[in-house]
């Protein structure tokens, strides 16, 4: 046992200081694609929509006039759009991608005579609700995870939350085996026909007040499996969702940001649109 002790000590402290500023983005990969709408032409939007395997990019119109609907909640990070049009679709490794409202992951860009029009204004965040959640759960949160039909990618990343690099317990976050002790339900997967009742029973067994976090493209929008014969999701069709964590799968830091966002201990960084002058 002493050899394990010395080995553990020899490794030193490897834990990230995330969510402290300046400690984000060391995970090697992005959890979400952001859109620089000024750098995109309508013809390119049509190509990107054709190649997108999900409903993340949908476009209509012609070479100069048209509309593109972008939904980061349906993005499975296949990389097709960002490889074809790297100026417009950027995969920045900032893990602070979670949002409180589904619409914050969506944006619509319109073009008239080849010129982009400023996208529609986005919804305001319900600040009052967050304050209440912070007061209730801000110090410590017990999380019950339910796999509602994932590919195991999300679970693999959730297991990394406990690894020394992330160590979610330093922030007062704990996984709990029983829904009776849980404050938050963390759901991954498309919600299959076979798991619907188990998911609803787990939610019902949790004491109020309770939070629901949708983790990953499948839980948010069914991702690659939308419209499948066994898919009964997305999650917000069945339960009220408090935070959405995009990604396929979301990286451990993105998951951490989503959990902290749900209890008001982190804030939304921005929406899915990135200004070209942002410099990021």
């Amino acid at each position: 046992m002493s050899r394990w002790l010395t080995r553990g000590l020899r490794s030193g402290v490897r834990t990230t200081r995330f969510p402290d500023p300046g400690e984000a983005g060391e995970e090697g990969a992005a959890s979400s694609v952001r859109l620089r709408w000024q750098a995109l032409a309508p013809a390119q939007a049509l190509v990107a929509a054709r190649d997108c395997p999900t409903t993340a990019i949908e476009a209509s119109g012609t070479e100069s006039v048209g509309e593109m609907r972008f939904d980061a909640g349906a993005c499975i990070m296949c990389g097709r759009c960002s490889r074809a049009f790297p100026e417009a679709f950027t995969a920045a490794p900032d893990p602070r991608v979670s949002v409180l409202q589904r619409d914050r992951l969506r944006a619509t860009v319109r073009w008239s005579a080849g010129e982009p029009l400023a996208p529609a204004a986005l919804h305001e965040v319900a600040v009052a609700v967050r304050r209440k959640a912070h007061r209730l759960f801000g110090r410590s949160l017990h999380i019950r995870h339910v796999d509602a039909g994932s590919c195991n990618g999300c679970e693999s990343e959730l297991q990394q939350l406990a690894s020394p690099y992330v160590d979610l317990q330093r922030l007062g976050l704990f996984f709990t085996p029983t829904p009776r002790h849980a404050d938050a339900l963390l759901v991954t997967g498309v919600v299959t026909r076979n798991l619907r009742s188990a998911l609803l029973a787990t939610y019902a067994a949790m004491p109020a007040p309770k939070l629901v976090v949708a983790a990953g493209a499948c839980a948010i929008s069914c991702g690659s499996f939308a419209g499948g014969p066994m898919t009964v999701g997305p999650l917000d069709r069945l339960l009220p969702v408090d935070a959405y964590v995009p990604g396929c799968p979301p990286t451990p830091q993105a998951l951490l940001h989503g959990l902290l966002l749900a209890i008001g201990r982190a804030s939304e960084r921005a929406n899915v649109l990135e200004e070209a002058s942002d410099g990021a």
Binding site: G79, C151, Q159, Q160, S163, P252
Partner: protein
């Protein structure tokens, strides 16, 4: 062309249609199918058995694998009705394949001892997800009643259900223990919770788009499954891949094996309460995932594959950076593996836990580390080389003990071999020969395979004239390796052994359910 396969076919009276130098097809009448397969399974391995109902008359296909003289035989039989004689009474490995054929296609294996569903829960009996609805199908046979759990009753025997929502961030599956107090008398296993109908969803999609479904078959073996699918499509189209692509594919497949195996060993340490060990392997796994993210932009290597090649190139600096990590990883992983072997609290929990005898493993044709820990010395990387595996030297570790300790040793030894393969690939990187031409789409069908972290994954793909998927059959390793799980749990283990058993099998419900 393989002489061994030609001899085998001549002995069975089959006429071979050589589709590729290592893949032949043959057909026989429905009435002879069971006899032919049983006969061939004496000298070849029954690697898969599936039905096709989407592209014409119902048809059964057995995939037989010849290891001595590397080649594959696809033996098919057209069915006139909705029943066929079951192989299971003579060939135990066929049991779960036949149950799947029944629930998915509505073709009843007559004489199967328990043909109940594996994946469908509360599903209308007349509907079978893989069978086309249109066309006025005759009334299909109803399944015989199957009890949900093995009924072990008696004084002092109690029932202990676990799942589908289990403790911690784990996948959904249901286990039903019958116990006399401490011991597991019998285990009932219920899978299928995560059935997403992936193969059905892919039908009619362009192969390039269906590839992202193959990559999402299972999280920690996505690249291997994607690679097997890609290779099936490439073989069907007759596409050859550049040497650089082959090298990159092998490199990324080994990187996936590393993070998957390190995750497995970490979970094993955790299951015995050895938290420092779990944390150390958690560090290694995170480093491998980050390396994958830096190389491909995705921590699970998704989006890297393309039909005919790869979506990306690994530049010299990226390769150098990875090469510089390998020695440190090897040193740490070897040291940790040795330390785990020396830790009695760890070893005592694994020794003789969940025994699978070599005979049992052979009977069920087990694959991957689970099979290799029970003396099955098979590995598609060596036996049917693909990508760049014929250009590197490596060992295939195997053990005869068949317990959790043997499975642990195989995982440790395999991760060392992966590092060895990666170092050889990086040191001998081929010169770039320019981009490969885009594939010309036409109809065709072929088998593709790869060695996933959990074992051999086998994908059969049939394309229509414009390159859309007409039929895709995926047989990932979990389909084979879940089969012995209940048996392994029930053989003299305690309830407290259960976490160790599950961690040592390292199989994903998602990969089984699909």
């Amino acid at each position: 062309m393989s002489d061994g396969l030609a001899r085998l076919a001549a002995g069975a009276g089959l006429e071979l249609d050589w589709r590729r130098p290592d893949e032949a097809a043959a057909s026989c009448p429905e009435a002879e199918f069971a006899d032919r397969v049983t006969e061939l399974a004496g000298s070849a391995v029954l690697a898969d058995l599936f039905a096709t109902t989407a592209t014409g008359p119902a048809q059964l296909t057995a995939v037989l694998q010849l290891v001595s003289d590397p080649s594959w035989l696809l033996l098919s039989a057209e069915l006139a009705g909705v029943t066929f004689p079951s192989l299971t009474p003579r060939l135990h490995a066929a049991s779960w394949y036949e149950r799947e054929i029944f629930e998915m296609h509505g073709l009843l294996p007559e004489g199967h001892p328990a043909p109940g569903p594996l994946r469908l829960h509360d599903w209308p009996e007349e509907h079978h997800p893989m069978r086309p609805r249109a066309g006025g199908v005759a009334r299909l046979p109803h399944p015989p009643h199957v009890p949900k759990w093995p009924a072990v009753t008696g004084q002092g025997v109690f029932q202990f259900p676990l799942g589908p929502v289990r403790s911690g961030p784990q996948e959904a599956a249901e286990f039903h223990f019958s116990s006399g107090g401490e011991d597991i008398v019998a285990l009932g296993l219920r899978l299928g919770f995560k059935y997403r109908a992936i193969e059905r969803l892919a039908q009619g999609q362009p192969a390039e788009r269906a590839l992202q479904l193959a990559e999402r078959l299972a999280g920690t073996s996505g690249f291997a499954n994607g690679l097997a699918f890609t290779r099936a499509v490439e073989r069907a189209l007759g596409v050859t891949v550049t040497q650089v692509s082959e090298h990159t594919r092998a490199l990324l497949a080994e990187l996936e094996r590393l993070h998957s195996h390190w995750g497995t060993i970490g979970r094993l340490a955790e299951s015995t309460g050895l938290l420092v060990g779990a944390a150390q392997y958690g560090l290694l796994k995170e480093e491998a995932l980050r390396a994958a993210g830096r190389l491909t932009g995705h921590r699970y290597l998704r989006g890297a594959l393309r039909i005919g090649g790869l979506e990306l190139e690994l530049g010299p600096s990226a390769r150098r950076q990875l090469r510089a990590q390998l020695d440190g990883w090897r040193e740490r992983a070897t040291g940790l593996g040795r330390l785990l072997e020396d830790t009695s609290t760890f070893q005592d929990r694994l020794d003789t836990t969940a025994l699978l005898s070599p005979e049992y493993a052979r009977e069920h044709n087990l694959v991957g580390p689970v099979g290799r820990a029970s003396g099955i010395d098979r590995d598609t990387r060596r036996d049917h080389p693909y990508a760049a595996y014929s250009e590197v030297l490596f060992d295939v570790p195997s053990r005869a003990a068949g317990d959790a300790a043997a499975r642990f040793q195989v995982h440790v030894a395999e991760s060392t071999q992966s590092l060895r393969i990666m170092a050889q690939l990086l040191d001998d990187w081929p010169a770039d020969a320019g981009p490969a031409p885009a594939p010309q789409w036409h109809s065709g069908s072929a088998l593709g395979w790869a060695e996933a972290p959990g074992g051999e994954t086998l994908h059969f793909v049939e394309l229509d004239p414009v390159g859309r998927v007409a039929r895709w059959r995926a047989r990932p390793p979990a389909v084979v390796n879940w089969h012995p799980f209940a048996h392994a749990c029930g053989s003299g283990n305690n309830l407290t052994d259960y976490p160790v058993i599950e961690a040592s099998f390292a199989i994903s419900p998602a990969e089984f359910d699909r």
